[in-house]
Amino acid sequence: MNVETTVLGADEIILNMGPQHPSTHGVLRVKLRLDGEKVVGSECVIGYLHRGVEKIAEHRSYQQFAPYVDRMDYVAAVSNGLGYCEAVEKLMQVEAPPRARVIRTILTELQRIASHLFWLGTHALDIGALTPLFYCLREREEILKIFEKYCGARLTTHAFRIGGLQYEAYDELEKDVERFCKDFDKRVDEYEALLTENRIWVGRTKGIGILTAKDAIAMGVTGPVLRASGVQWDLRKAIPYAAYDQYEFSIPTGKNGDTYDRYLVRLEEMRQSRKICLQAIENIPAGPILGKVGKVLKPPPGEVYHSIEAPKGELGYYIVSDGTTQPYRVRIRPPSLINLEALDQMIRGHLVADVVAVIGTLDIVLGEVDR
């Protein structure tokens, strides 16, 4: 950190929130230009976690690439898998059977709740509240147990296959999800009681990192960050996929796009996901769980772009196939990276302590940012 002049000096200081930092949610380096305490400008340096997933895809068959997709946004692995499988199915004009689509919806919504819980815990920890983290992790543990019973893995689940599912739903799946959803509403009320009316929490989040609707759309920001700025856009309603068209749920939006609204939007989304899960487990249709997909997949040459509403935002897959078993090109639209672009504009004029809050509210995962 080079300090041009003394603490009293008027011109700027460059402050390094280095890659190894307690509250940058992974290996993100932010170079802040400070005028005293106020942030004048910032530049994010990323790439510390770049593994070249898209290049690897060109030398893997379609089924072999599916586990890689879970390693991108490791906090919400199930929705990555859903996006990829549906994209390839669209490429091959194959429909997953209704039973598979419903089970996929249930697992994706549970994963959204788990991702939001992890976000709430770490976000509150950055701003100083020590307790919510452990409450959120307690709930998340229940969800991870359900994943473990279903497909043997907790984090990088690789739960879905192209064309449907690999594993039949274990018999108490409905009972487990029912038990989880039954008292989950009370749990969210616990978080609300702990934080929503908390003067210090409101003081630290209201009016911080404001992103107007116009700027949000201009920057291509998606997901809860976009909805908190007042734009009513959710892919589950706009372009329904899996079995979302069968269930009714509402899309929470905020008014003035500050950290407090994003917090409220994500809390409400957790409640809506619970509603979807409850509706879904009432009638899981019987029938096969895997569509007519051969062992070796040779999709017709051509290209497809398919995007789903991941917990962080619009997660898109653009796959170009040249008729062989290996994709010619796989391009992934990472919502965290595009949301991160808005960071510089959101933290200008704020203090250094707010940078931590804004990084937290963007809910970025560096695995997805760097790919």
Binding site: T6, V7, L8, A10
Partner: protein, 168 residues
């Protein structure tokens, strides 16, 4: 006997730390020694049964003004001033001044012949609580100076804030 020992100890401490304040190169160390000098004088006040003044000295002087000094020394980031020459060549003038002062005091003591006049022994418990008496005088006979002092403080506060604003 115990009483005198305390006085002489604090007096020696005060003088030694005063000398160190003036001679140290590093401003932070001289600030620390000034604090010890102030606490030594506070000890002397306590020895003279002036407890209220002792506590005012500790809170206001050592706890308030000196914190301000240490603050400013750190804000002003003194290592730039450290390697500059700290002492100007006016040793000679200083020597003359202190010699004159010493001569004056010696003369005063000789003339007054009361130098051996000793302090009346402090009655052990009879002395009324010092704080109540100070408070009585402060708020009755010396009401006006008290108000003037508060206005003085107000003026100096405003002055300090205006002085230290960013864009002077």
């Amino acid at each position: 006997m115990f009483n005198e020992a305390i006085f002489y100890f604090f007096a020696a401490l005060a003088i030694v730390s005063a000398i160190l304040v003036v001679t140290r190169r590093n401003a932070v160390q001289s600030a620390i020694f000034l604090v010890t000098a102030l606490l030594a004088t506070a000890g002397i006040f306590l020895n003279l049964n002036a407890e209220f003044l002792f506590i005012v000295q500790v809170i206001l002087y050592a706890g308030g003004i000196m914190v301000l000094f240490v603050f400013v020394i750190m804000l002003v980031n003194l290592d730039v001033a450290l390697h500059q020459v700290q002492f100007n060549r006016q040793w000679f003038v200083a020597l003359i001044i202190s010699a004159v002062l010493a001569a004056q005091v010696a003369a005063a003591i000789m003339v007054s012949r009361q130098s051996l006049y000793t302090m009346p022994a402090a009655p052990a418990e009879a002395l009324e609580p010092n704080t109540e008496r100070v408070a009585f005088y402060l708020f009755h006979t010396y009401m006006l100076p008290f108000e003037i002092a508060s206005i003085l403080l107000l003026v100096s506060m405003v002055g300090a804030v205006v002085m230290a604003k960013k864009r002077v």
